[in-house]
Amino acid sequence: MKKEMALITENFLRYGPPDTAGYLEIGGFTGLEKALAGSPEELVRTIEASGLRGRGGAAYPTGKKMRQSAAYEGDTKYLICNADEGEPGTFKDRELLEKDPLGVLEGMVIAAHGVGATQGILYLREEYSHLLGLLEDSLAAMRQDGYLGRGILGGPLDFDITVFVGAGAYICGEGTSLIESIEGKPGRPRNKPPYTKAQGLFMKPTLVSNVETFSGITAIVRHGAEVFTGYGTPMSPGTKLISLCGNVNRPGTYEVPFGTTLEEIVMGIGEGVAGGRALKFVQIGGISGPLLPKEFLKMPLSYEAFEKEGLSIGSGAVLVVDETTDILDFLDAVAAFFKHESCGKCTPCREGNRQIMNILKRMREGVALPSDPENIQRIANTMKYASFCGLGKTAPTALLSAVRYCPEEIFTRRGL
């Protein structure tokens, strides 16, 4: 029942980056050649037809985003590849950058053609700075061979890419915080409007997309939208990279078509829970995602199936947690992460994480107050509805899902 496949990851281990010649041999840059042979409008239509949605977690339709971005005119338009993969449990972008950097960068050049971008920036998370050399070398090789710079492939497209290394803040994965960070400011989210697509980096039109999205663009343009839509479900075409980790026998990054069930991922590809122990829950989408008990294993990985349950696929992380884990310990680790990573700008996130930590501490020590169960849920809901950005809104997701799916385990024997 293994359903691993290679579309976005088709170049993995087939060439030695930054070797452009090897990349060419396996069909590299054919997507870019095809894209440049057609108009930007044709390219945008191809992406729209593929049904590709943003792979960073927000799942905004990529074609629509490109069309909107293309509509903004100006001397300078930025295209940013968000490689600030800070979501704990998520490492698929690292795999793409390590094993197929040319595929990612090719996707950026293709997208630049589609939206009329003049300057590209790859925002690399600080923890991935060991990839900086490889990326710089890949960019140099592309420049050398005419895939970057002035008049790409002899055509009218002028576009180059630089790498910007972040400083380690989780919040900088959020588009506007990432932009603030590049501008030299503390990573804190901006108000919208103005929207990034109109006034982003240095107040110029800017398109920000995830690493996997750019790899997807490369694959779609190379093979045609119909090859991409041949996989997955009608509402969720194509494939998704999964970061499988936790108490699982075979952790790693895997590409699966949408529609694959969680069970196929955990028990099939992942070869089951480590040590033969029982599954307690899986956390989907990283630390900002919900805890799903084993009843959810039958659920297919698709946007529509998840939305129906009020869930989100997020970045595509699947964290397997076995029966030996205490749920409060787990939730405490989640809360500690968000308390550390909150930017502090808005009240619910800054103060909510603080108070959730306080209450969890009392619960773990068995000295909870009678009001704590109600208050922790009220605080979590306030954060969910009232926070400024996605960080604060999703910080209590794990807690709220745990309350929903296993309230007894959280609230009994806690001094209540």
Partner: protein, 577 residues
Amino acid sequence: MDFVNLTIDQVAVTVPRGTTILEAARKININIPTLCHHPDQKVKANCRICLVETGEDQLDTACSTQVREGMKVLTTSKLVRETQKGVLELILANHDQDCLKCIRNGNCELQDLCERFAISRGDLGLIAPGDVTVDARPKDLFNPAIVRDYGKCIKCNRCVEVCREVQDAGILSAAFRSTDYTIQPAYGRTLDATLCTYCGQCIAVCPVGAIYEKTETDRVWEALDREDLHVIVQVAPAVRVTLGEEFGCEPGTPVTQKIVAALRRIGFDRVYDTDFTADLTIIEEGYELIDRIRHQGTLPMITSCSPGWINYMEGFFPEMIPHVSTCKSPQQMFGALSKTYYADKTQIPPSKIFTVSIMPCTAKKFEAKREEMVQKGIPDVDAVLTTRELAKLIKVAGIDFNRLQGEEFDAPFGMTTGAGVIFGASGGVMEAALRTVYEVLTKEEMPQINLYALRGTEGIKVSSLQIGDLEVKVAVANGLKNARQLVEEVKAGDSPYHFIEIMGCPGGCLGGGGQPINTDLKIKEARMKGIYQVDQTMAIRKSHENPRIKELYEEFLKEPNSPVAHRILHTHYQSRE
């Protein structure tokens, strides 16, 4: 114009595209709660209290969300109420709630919201018994003007914006992340270790009691209690049109005579008017200008009466020192006279005279403590109270301010002119100076003494006046960012002006950091109107026609800019770098 139709709580409303939900709601008298929002500032949306329901299970901040066609907004749904209350509780859970001791008790936006949502600490249950400490830095009370109480700060960032974008000082900024997030000077310094101008505009925009003036009311009470001290008080021009606000009057209502009466009830031995030394400033500064023009002195000359401006200049543009008038401010001229001329006249030793000022300003507290303002260990001015502190003093004394019968200032420093009054508004010093300079130079009556081009709340105003053969070019700036513009011109050597008036605070002293809180542009405009009304009704409207000023020169100062005037009424500046 492009209009948008929407409903807010089922009430249909049509507003221009680009309007926020908050603005649209206020138009139909729906009062959505706010904390970080300030009418004169940018949208911040960081407190999250103004949430409204814009769709199923969807809340957005009303301050930052623009209306859309067909939008259905709910401002009091269960989800809205519960979430707003949740946000408020989270603020309170780490807020030092000693409201009764707080300087903003009764005038606090957070307290108002707690009342509206009927919550107090007791309802929260967020904090375990015994665990009541607030996680915040200790208070900063190491300068004579401003106290920063970190335990009360709600991190709204209003002070940061005014400090950086209006006052161009950039002292306060947001530092650190998450629960460590705090609004502080760079590197966690105390304010005294920064180039803070002490303008107090941060106080004026703070919704809570996190920044306030360092109060000297206790010192004043102690002085009043002492039999051996002769306690006199001066009242600054801008206080008379703002104090009334603390007692329910409309902004701009002049309450001059009531202030005099109240100060006498409180126990001051003599009640004087800073307008008198404002007139004196005009004479000294006016002659200084004439001298600089006649003898190729450094031009443009820039006014020196705003200590916020002086602090800014000494901190950020010390190369401007030769341009700044050497005149002390009216407050300090009064103080200096009180310990010399007045002491001689009354035969009271200067050490037994305690001079209090009522000022619209926090930087005046700093100014009074400057070493240049202390002679032989005796300060020119002993204590400075803001307009707000005076209101407190009156309330503590149990005086029913509104029912007071008005009284007149004492002689000799109570005789004043309209020129002195308009010091309280941006452009007023310039207008008053030109009224005098014109007539001194031409020996003719000035045909039109209302210089409308210099009035109003615009940041920079320029004008020129033909005086004899010379076209005198002048400029006026209020707010330090605007001041910077004029200063940069001077620095670059292409300033066309002879004389520049700079007031540190937006609108001038009527918008000072010591004025009643909750000030916005409309209120400042009303105060300004009040000031010019007072000027219009004064019998004498030119400083050089003040008979008591003439007397002062005859008896004591001899002539403008005389050696004795220089010794007592002039000062010098130094770089703070």
